[in-house]
């Protein structure tokens, strides 16, 4: 029983990371029908930029490590990664909108290789650790709930992820710009006839998605303490799976898909076999898609009229 609760909590934590990254995939896909394979690397970049900023501010400048400072750095990292996301869209994707889907996928893969190796050149091929100093920021408090151990940092991560996702949901559902975004996702031409600047919306998508991904990267760094330059592929692939699982293009779908994937992984680790957890996650994905070809929340779209 204790182990079940423990794995559920672990699963929710990992799942919330997946969900944050999956949102970036799903938003870009919803608006552009493009799989942004470089998104995972933007997430990885967030982890590195978070480390570098934290090091710079806390270790070099000697600023007192506090929760407020941490949140501030969070915002800085999100802004930086969002900026890179926008540049990426301009350089690698915008020239290819008319060329069909395959060329943009290859361009995205090229961008992914570029980002990965850029980070490797800048910060080295070895893994990097978030220094011990930051442990003070989030006190090492652990509660026992029903035989399971819940750390304060886990709760903090869950709360931040939930806040970000709720914010996004309300933005997309209840603001004018959010409505415009949904309109563009439905139909570019009609949306632009309604006076929506489609390219501005695309830019916005490439601002929000990478910002959330970057936040996810820094959270993974803080939570696990160890980051690699290849982080983007392992997490990116999982998050993309999560987005598809929930129904790609669907924002609540990405959140649910991420959480489900995290839970599957944690339960597989706890009760089946750690070595097979990724295989099990993909297997569940295949099963779900066999029966629900458009994911859990994906709408049934008529094939062709």
């Amino acid at each position: 029983m204790g182990q079940l609760v423990q794995q559920l909590i672990n699963g929710l934590t990992i799942g919330s990371f997946y969900a944050l990254i999956a949102l970036g995939y799903t938003m870009v896909y919803g608006v552009l029908k493009l799989i942004n394979f470089a998104h995972g690397d933007l997430f990885m970049l967030g982890a590195y930029l978070g480390l570098v900023t934290l090091m710079g501010v806390v270790v070099n400048l000697g600023a007192p490590a506090s929760l407020l400072l941490l949140l501030l750095i969070f915002l800085i990292v999100m802004a930086l990664v969002a900026g890179i996301g926008i540049v990426l869209e301009r350089v690698a994707y915008r020239p290819l909108y008319q060329a069909g889907r395959l060329p943009s996928i290859v361009s995205a893969l090229g961008a992914s290789i570029f980002l990965q190796n850029g980070v490797m050149l800048l910060y080295g091929a070895r893994y990097r650790t978030y220094p011990e100093e930051f442990k003070v920021i989030v006190p090492d408090v652990i509660w026992e709930i029903g035989g399971a151990r819940v750390a304060l940092i886990q709760l903090l991560m869950l709360v931040i992820a939930a806040l970000l996702m709720a914010g996004l949901y309300f933005f997309v559902q209840y603001t004018r710009v959010g409505t415009a975004m949904r309109a563009v996702a439905l139909d570019h031409d009609t949306a632009s006839l309604m006076g929506i600047d489609v390219y501005r919306i695309i830019m916005l998508v490439f601002l929000i998605g990478p910002a959330l991904g970057g936040a996810g990267g820094m959270m993974v760094g803080l939570y696990y303490g160890r980051i690699y330059f290849t982080l983007g592929w392992s997490y990116g692939l999982k998050a993309f799976t999560a987005a598809i699982l929930g129904g790609i293009g669907n924002i609540p779908g990405a959140m649910i898909g991420g959480l489900i994937l995290g839970l599957i992984e944690a339960l597989a680790t706890g009760f089946v076999s750690d070595a097979w957890k990724n295989a099990i996650a993909f297997f569940v994905l295949v099963l779900i898609l066999i029966f629900k070809p458009r994911g859990l929340l994906g709408e049934r779209v008529a094939e062709k009229l």
């Binding site: 896909y29 029908k33 799989i35 350089v91 690698a92 020239p95 290819l96 008319q98 060329a99 069909g100 889907r101 395959l102 060329p103 943009s104 996928i105 290859v106 361009s107 893969l109 090229g110 961008a111 992914s112 290789i113 570029f114 980002l115 990965q116 190796n117 850029g118 490797m120 050149l121 592929w233 692939l237 993309f240 799976t241 598809i244 790609i248 089946v272 076999s273 070595a275 097979w276 990724n278 295989a279 993909f282 297997f283 994905l285 295949v286 898609l289 066999i290 070809p293 458009r294 994911g295 094939e303 062709k304």
Partner: protein
Amino acid sequence: MGESSLKDLIGRLRKLDERYLYSILAALVVLFPWIVRSVRWIQVVNFFFVYALLGLSLNIILGYAGLFQLGHAAFYAVGAYTTAILSSRYDIPTFWLLPVAGLLSAVFAILISRPILHLRGDYLCIVTIGFGEIVRIALRNDASSLVFLSKIPGLQFLEEKLTGLVITGGPNGIFGINRPAILGFTFRQQWHYYYLFLAFVVFTVFAMRRLENSRLGRAWTCVREDELAAETMGIDTVRVKLLAFAIGAAWAGVAGNLYASWVTVIAPESFSFWESVIMFCIVVLGGTGSIPGVLVGTVGMVVLPEILREVLLNIQQWRMLLFGAAMVIMMVFRPEGLWPSQRFRRQLELAKEAVGSE
């Protein structure tokens, strides 16, 4: 060589009949090992051949039939591991295993693709990635890691059978694969393999050209362009798509067999997601659905990094960074691929016209 003499040479070459040009090219290819006399570059070209075979096989699925397949390494792995296991355990000559590897790959492809054929575009893409990863993880974990199955009531007997069972060799893979031999001649040197692989690539290019213009090839094009219309015309779309997967996988399995018998040591990491990405990029970079395109794409994805290695003597670490940037630049400036098929080029022109007239 001076500039004027170079121009002179080009001018003289232009005047030559195309047939002579092709004969010269063919002669250069045949004599290549004797011209470069460098084991390393012959090895690079051997890699080129293996990936050209893989690219041509993926081209059937992705290029002709238009099915997003980003897990082609799985079929390659099935071919290579079939060869490796049977060759190292039962000492079967690897040439005999060539059809076995192809056939098993095809059967495997039919089994996994049948339930997912109804998926469209990007959903198919992630599922094929998923299968690719499942295969790699399975190879890495080996059979003994399945012991957890014995916890299921009724399957307890598996425990003793699975414990310590070695089939794929886990992360270390399999070594001691036989080298191919024919009529008492064993392939050992890099240049031996050069001619072996060259023969396979030439045969494959020939076969693909026949396939492209066959009834089945045209059915693939039709399914890719408009599945509903294809079905209305009486094409059994499920069968046609399954055949694309089966034939593509069989060819990848053959490439796996050749690869295994060439390197004689294989490990799961040679069949990772990265390999599938390379194959995918070979097809799209070269020009989706175009046979010369696949060959040019293979040069870009396999030979170019090696050339960069030679050129960037002091800034070796920049190699992959430049390579990634080159991929983006090539796609941005030539979205139709380096050597596109006629059909794709026309499609892109039409799309541009449509945009221009808005």
